[in-house]
Symmetry: C2
């Protein structure tokens, strides 16, 4: 056990109790104590209650000269629908490093959406004896970042429809007069943000009255093509009835109806902006540059064209500060951003990782999780997140389970909510060995980025020694730096000490720059094909719509952006049922979209749902408040 003052010894019970019961059994430390342990002075954070603090971006100003710690990303093999414990392993590894190996360590994780918390999945704070606490504060509201995203996203949506409506009823001159109302002295002027649009359309005049009629038209009439609008409204609730709706049916809206829909808030481009931004000034530009659709002439229309980049930044100004929390064993956690892992890049924020790397300093560790399987989350971590941050990881942890490897070896389908087949509960070494092809491809993919790969086998009580040995042997044979059995779910950090040691060695024995899978300055198609090849595909097939979109984005000057594939995580290929390591398939690209402000183009491989639904009996049936103690009950 380390000597640090904030660390907490766990009293482990077997069998492992429910997550909420474990979380509630530990009294969290006041977050100022955690802050002190990572040398955060009180002027560098704002408290949000007793157990959460927002770390101010300004902390970086004072740390510019100091060195970074080791940077570890946690990915996984292609998972079953039950998940293989990536978050739990991320937390467990940090508990081991911090509480047992005497290392400075910060865990960086995503903020979960509230939708699944009340739907099917429950919370996302890790599990067993490897959790972020307080679990209810982690899963609900937290410090309001997702609410800020919802507010900003929907203000932009409201501005789009209202602008189209007002343009439909007003002359060019009327529009200009309303956009630039006279002040008390009767003088009209442009607001600061209007100069951004004037510059974009090549007008250098500074007074509204100097514009020619053509310039007035060009400036004041955005002429948005309603059919081109890609900006949807969002809500952090699983509301399937909002997937496709018609708006504008009130009598005051004079028949200007339009089909659109809601996504869940974490699918908003603003979430992706939050995750990829590097500073307030950078966020201001990204938010202003978000493209909501095209004019009828085909010009991209941005949030700044609508006058909103500044207001969106104001709504997001606190959200840019990561939230400090703690693990069950008292090690620090930064929770920040949680973009979708298919239509976005599925990684927590750059700013949190940057702050964490400075706080732990050289020889300290920052462990950050990449969503989905490593073919998606970790690939995007490397090619999108690290490209924008300039940071270099030393180690990739690949989480594997005997259960998932058996599935890849040919075991029966695993379905959430249904009892596991007998195959998964009894020894079958051959099946495990057969499934290791999946793990091997993830290992070799990750190695190609120049990092050391450590396999973490997240052990279940039903796993046999022979099965576990089969995995570690296969991992080493596939080129892993090390492969370690972990029991952090049952034992907390103590169960991940071997993993911690392996990760430390892996980090210390690598020192090369990150090798990207593709350069930015090749065509969109070349980039897509490079990623497809890493999946095992022999080629790529583009739909007519995809071709059209690629041509449009290339013409609009967006072809130099990185690529964010929207693909299932349940197979290397586009077909979820193809387990193991499929190859020789042709990857179909159904459509291509873009998050210009966030900074990526996302090809759609198949259909992606961006708004989950509630089941007949959602989690909320069990959730209540003990009004006498104020304690949340039934959260899972």
């Amino acid at each position: 056990m380390s000597s640090s003052k904030t660390l907490r010894k766990l009293h482990v019970v077997s069998p492992v109790p429910a997550d909420i019961d474990i979380a509630n059994s530990v009294e969290p430390l006041h977050i100022s104590e955690i802050a002190q342990e990572v040398n955060l002075s009180p002027n560098h954070y704002d408290l949000y209650g007793k157990y959460k603090a927002k770390v101010l971006l300004s902390v970086l100003d004072g740390l510019e000269g100091s060195g970074d710690g080791y940077y570890v990303v946690v990915g996984g093999i292609t998972p079953t629908p039950l998940g293989e414990g990536k978050s739990t392993t991320t937390v467990g590894l940090c508990q081991a490093l911090g509480a047992f190996l005497d290392k400075k360590v910060v865990t960086c994780v995503r903020q979960p959406s509230q939708g699944p918390t009340f739907g099917i999945k429950g919370g996302a704070a890790g599990g067993g004896y490897s959790q972020v606490i307080p679990m209810d504060e982690f899963n609900l509201h937290m410090t309001g970042d997702i609410h800020a995203i919802t507010a900003a996203n929907n203000l932009l949506a409201a501005a789009i429809d209202t602008r189209i409506f007002h343009e439909s009823t007003q002359s060019d001159k009327g529009l200009l007069n309303r956009l630039c109302p006279p002040n008390k002295e009767g003088k009209r002027s442009f607001s600061d943000i209007m100069f951004r649009r004037l510059k974009k359309i090549g007008i250098s005049k500074t007074k509204p009255e100097d514009l020619t009629p053509q310039e007035v038209n060009k400036f004041a009439r955005l002429d948005i093509d309603p059919d081109s609008i890609t900006w949807r409204r969002v809500m952090d609730v699983n509301d399937r009835f909002l997937r496709k709706i018609t708006v504008g049916q009130g009598p005051e809206e004079k028949g200007m109806m339009r089909e659109t829909g809601f996504d869940i808030s974490v699918a908003s481009e603003i979430m992706a902006v939050l995750a990829l931004t590097t500073s307030l000034a950078d966020m201001r530009e990204r938010l202003g540059n978000m493209v909501i659709g095209n004019s009828k002439a085909g010009t991209p229309i941005t949030a700044d064209d609508l006058g909103l980049g500044g207001a969106l930044t104001v709504l997001m100004k606190d959200a840019i500060n990561p939230t400090l929390m703690q693990t069950l064993e008292g090690t620090p956690v930064l929770v920040h951003a949680g973009p979708f892992a298919n239509i976005a890049h599925g990684n927590s924020s750059i700013v949190a990782d940057k702050i964490a790397l400075k706080l732990v300093g050289p020889s300290g560790f920052v462990v950050t999780e990449a969503g989905f399987g490593a073919d998606i989350g970790a690939e995007k971590f490397m090619n999108i997140k690290c490209r924008y941050s300039g940071l270099t990881p030393q180690c990739a942890v690949i989480v594997a389970t005997i259960r998932a490897l058996k599935m890849h070896g040919g075991g029966p389908e695993v379905v959430a909510g249904r009892p596991l087949d007998h195959t998964y509960l009894t020894e079958n070494v051959a099946l495990v060995e057969a499934g290791c092809v999946n793990m091997a491809r993830h290992i070799s993919n990750m190695k190609s980025y120049g990092v050391n790969v450590v396999v973490a086998v997240n052990m279940f009580s039903t796993d046999s020694e022979a099965e576990l040995n089969a995995v570690t042997n296969a991992a080493l044979a596939a080129g892993a730096f090390d492969a370690v059995i972990c029991t952090h779910h049952a034992h907390g950090g103590k169960g991940a000490v071997d993993l911690g040691i392996a990760v430390q060695k892996a980090c210390e024995s690598v020192s090369q720059p990150l090798k990207f899978l593709y350069p930015l300055d090749v065509s969109i198609k070349e980039k897509i094909e490079a990623i497809a090849k890493s999946y095992g595909a022999s080629g790529v097939e583009y739909s007519e719509q995809a071709e059209k979109q690629i041509e449009m984005y290339s013409k609009q000057g967006f072809s130099n952006l990185p690529i964010c594939m929207a693909k299932t995580q349940y197979s290397f290929s586009h077909i979820p049922s193809e387990k193991g390591a499929p190859s020789g398939f042709v990857l179909p690209i159904r459509d291509v979209r873009a998050s210009i402000g966030a900074g990526f183009i996302y090809p759609l491989v198949g259909t992606m749902s961006t708004m989950p639904g509630l089941p007949t009996r959602p989690c909320f049936y069990d959730i209540d408040l003990d009004t006498a103690t104020g304690r949340v009950i039934g959260l899972s």
Copy 2:
């Protein structure tokens, strides 16, 4: 100037600068200093950054035995569309009492909606030298209460549509099996919240397998009549295109489309619940009792029937704690709840007032604002808010302006955004005198509750002494305890010292219980008619729809609730252009609705918009963040 440590001397500039410039010119105190001044110990509040703290409801436990301060409500005469400075007067009066008259004082105000902040109106933190600061934190997100309301409201909305959908595709038995899934041992059981529904429908069995087929049907099938659903979705954005929408148009929803719409979040019944609740346990019951519509058989369906009362309470558990902020002169403010003033009761929360009254103690002052004109906001303060809280006010302040009185005397129409007519900028004593009938009726209405009435004339630089004298004379003649000229907008608390003295005397010289306008145990119609009489109406006319609804609510057992009139604030009557003190008119009741969980029935007098729109040039064009300093600019 008082001796208190937190009070701050203002350096007043003339002419009065823009609100945001005044707000930014003052460095707010750390909120823990304000907390200390009102004897709040650190274990009774949670910090939210440096300038906001949530005061925990538990503070009341330790103060049960101590006495309350004086309780002052601020209402207004029938206003112009520009507003007559009720919030500013509320803040100015408190700055006078706290910073100049050495009184313990707490200001209780509503949290503003973000919609108007980015739309037309701008913020709502008061104005000039009488403001709540930091103004940007007050107007944006604050401590997340409205976001929590949005999340809770929309989770309930999603649950309604999803339940109807699932009921349409499943047998009674299938529904029961899904609602009560087997545990690991294969046993089915009811969750705690299901016992609420079982009790409601008269079933005392405790095991799912014991239900008869009829009981299964009764329990598991809510059979919601889609046409009866009154629960709408909400968003804290001015989004006019969401006023009327069709949901469920996605292919997975199998054609189960439905017309519905969004209101702005502050119009949610959950906001009214927050404002009227008295404890966590009370809030749990009110949220569970909210009626979302009827079954096809006409039974009201509640949030608890849908299994959601507990989860909604969990989402609202932090929102129930009021937010402590400060005025420009360093006096404490509690910001909490902000229900609509037409379809709801337009007053800040009961819990904030209760906490404030204990914190200031006997001889201290709590000043709370009631939205709209006194015919609406203050009437509801008395008959709804005080009825639920059991608190007794001593003094009602009626804010009047020369401008509004001239309008009531027959001056030309006042329109927001258009220059004021010359009449309002030059002396016209006769017009002012003629308009005083409006003020006189408000005074006499308020007096009937047993409180002393003090008129605060919010002075503008164009007002003449003769005009001002005319008002104070008329006020005294109408029975006001006192009438005082105030200049707090230009001078801060110093400009409201006379008002503070008058209010103090008014409070000290009254000691009678609150006399309600109507008892609860008469019929809905009798209650409506009592309120209509206070407007000057000679009678009430009910539409067929209103008659039907009154009959339904009476049959459902809800006739004992107080009445919350949804009427324009621009006239005592239902016609906004009828200024002065109209009488002899017949008040038309178009429809009658109910917020059963919040606890009132609301008759609709005319059409009420519950979702504002954005203008062609919304406020957001001026709002930006100075990314170098992190300061918000352009907020008004």
